[in-house]
């Protein structure tokens, strides 16, 4: 089959590789109908995620049709149209039973390796390095889905693959980010980053009762989508974020702040330049300007929610400021399986059409070019959807 494989920093190619097969009795094989490039794929593309090997197949957002199932699979059958969460979860361990699916004990074959870093193993992820299990991703014609009874969700009639596609990651991720804010009616929420996760966080914040959402980015195309989603756009290259938010919230600051930027924050500020130079000499792994700014801007007693991916160590983290203001932090990989059925229902009921942010529909064969454009934020790229 054809698949997009990682070969080094900013070097991805379409390779011909062996088709996946059933390995374990709870596996299914899915023929990919639609797949997407996630912002977190760019962290791999740009060389910031450890544990990659040449030839690894990328991609953790995909939907398709089941073409084979293992002997123990009960909930899906050949021919079912399914969407697959990016977190691989067994459905049986303590964490899965608590609906903390991304913390699954049992799905990371390299649990000993990641435990050396984190102290405990976390769930395996598709196409996201050997630290997260070494599972082949879904930017391919076919993918093997372990624990298919827990990790495949049937797509109802009336919803097409494109509408269901973002239930794999970015829609639940945005929703969990908003839920982690503990939003109450009347709350003001500020969102850093109007990429796909940020946009879904905006939509979700309103779904959960936020009164106002302030959306911070520097790209007009993204800010326009945020405006269309009901947010108040704020371009940080033209305005002082802290002053504007302070003023427009009557000096109180937002009740909650969402960092949907993560480890590759762009900034021309002093701390941003410091981060960039430290990252170059490998003294830090992450550039955390957006997070620092969110901590300063957030109102007293507020919540900081972090759906943006951080990989390791950040420097100059203003813990004292967070302590003084009594902030609450919530973060982590999304427990997709917890949110997916509810959000599928919202799509089915017409409450939201997740395809609003698709800017590019390309064939999988053009994926290397798509990565390049997306990484450089060219051509007003917000979301690439690929068809194998």
């Amino acid at each position: 089959m054809k698949a997009l494989a990682w070969h080094g920093v900013r070097d991805v190619r379409i390779d011909t590789v062996t088709d996946p097969g059933i390995v374990n009795p709870h596996d299914a094989i899915v023929e990919i109908k639609k797949t997407a490039i996630c912002g977190s794929d760019l962290h791999i593309y740009n060389g910031y995620i450890m544990g990659m090997k040449g030839g690894d197949i990328l991609g953790h957002e995909f939907a398709g049709e089941v073409v084979a199932v293992g002997a123990e699979v009960k909930n899906v059958k050949v021919g079912d149209r399914v969407v697959v969460p990016f977190t691989i979860s067994c459905g049986k361990c303590h964490y899965c039973s608590e609906e903390l699916f991304s913390l699954c004990d049992n799905t990371n074959p390299h649990s000993a390796a990641i435990s050396k870093v984190t102290g405990f193993p976390t769930a395996g992820l598709y196409g996201y390095s050997h630290l997260y299990g070494g599972y082949s991703g879904g930017q391919a014609q076919y993918v093997r889905v372990p624990f298919a009874d827990t990790d495949t969700f049937k797509i109802p009639d009336g919803i097409d693959f494109e509408q269901a596609l973002f239930l794999t990651d970015i829609f639940p991720t945005g929703y969990m980010a908003a839920e982690n804010c503990g939003i109450k009616p009347g709350d003001v929420v500020a969102v850093w980053g109007c990429g796909p996760v940020g946009l879904f966080a905006i939509k979700s914040a309103f779904m959960l009762g936020a009164d106002r959402v302030i959306a911070i980015d520097r790209f007009d195309a993204r800010l326009k989508l945020a405006l269309q989603a009901g947010a108040e756009p704020l371009n940080y290259e033209r305005h002082n974020v802290e002053e504007i938010i302070h003023e427009t919230t009557g000096g109180r600051g937002p009740n909650a702040c969402i960092d949907a930027v993560g480890m590759e924050a762009h900034s021309v500020s002093l701390d941003g330049m410091y981060d960039a130079s430290m990252q170059k000499i490998r003294m830090v792994t992450d550039r955390a300007h957006a997070l620092r700014e969110a901590i300063r801007v957030c109102g007293k007693g507020g919540a900081i929610s972090i759906p943006g991916v951080y990989a390791g160590i950040i420097d100059k983290f203003p813990l004292g400021i967070a302590f003084a203001k009594g902030l609450t932090f919530k973060m982590g990989q999304t427990h997709v399986q917890r949110y997916l059925p509810k959000l599928m229902k919202a799509i089915e009921n017409g409450e939201i059409d997740p395809t609003f942010l698709i800017t590019h529909r390309w064939p999988l064969s053009e994926a290397p070019k798509a990565y390049e454009l997306f990484a450089r934020k060219m051509d007003n790229a917000v979301k690439f959807v690929l068809t194998p």
Binding site: H26, H94, T107
Partner: protein, 194 residues
Amino acid sequence: MKALTALTLVAGGIGALVMARRATEVVAGNLEARSIAGALIETDTFEEVARSKTINSKLPEVYGFVRDMSMLPRFLPMVKLVNMVDEKRSLWTVKQGPVSVVLDVDITSGPDDDHVQFSFMLHGTALGACQIWLLSVGPELNQTRVTARLKYHPMLHGLVDRVIRPAMTAELDIYLARLKQLMETGEIATAEMR
């Protein structure tokens, strides 16, 4: 180094090299070699590495699984073959890296079915060590805390010990993770990209 670590893990603790010599000094000569390890390990002479996991299965199920010799190769991946000699004694063919050996193993079970002890002797020699699996109910009734302990001789104090001990710890983590996966899901998580 890799070969040394492999040999260590194969024997369940290379400290047994000295232990065996001391064993023959301490224990009057008529004891069978394979029982020496279990006896000496009860003394304070031995260092211990211990790791734990909680498994979402009832204690009798976990006990039955650990006690079932046919299941051993599934969660102790270096064990390739188990031949039962009698109810309490078996021969394990063990392979780790380039090293392949046969271990003579005494199996001791607790009276309350709450622990299993494997006392190893390298077949045909007096080299040995000990692996103990302790089980307890909790934190909930349908869950089991499993502790795997590996006992080895303290001759390895110092640099060698500091190098080998983490390898032993990591190895125990792998055994426990595999046991947990098998008990909870019925399979070992497997990825394609190697």
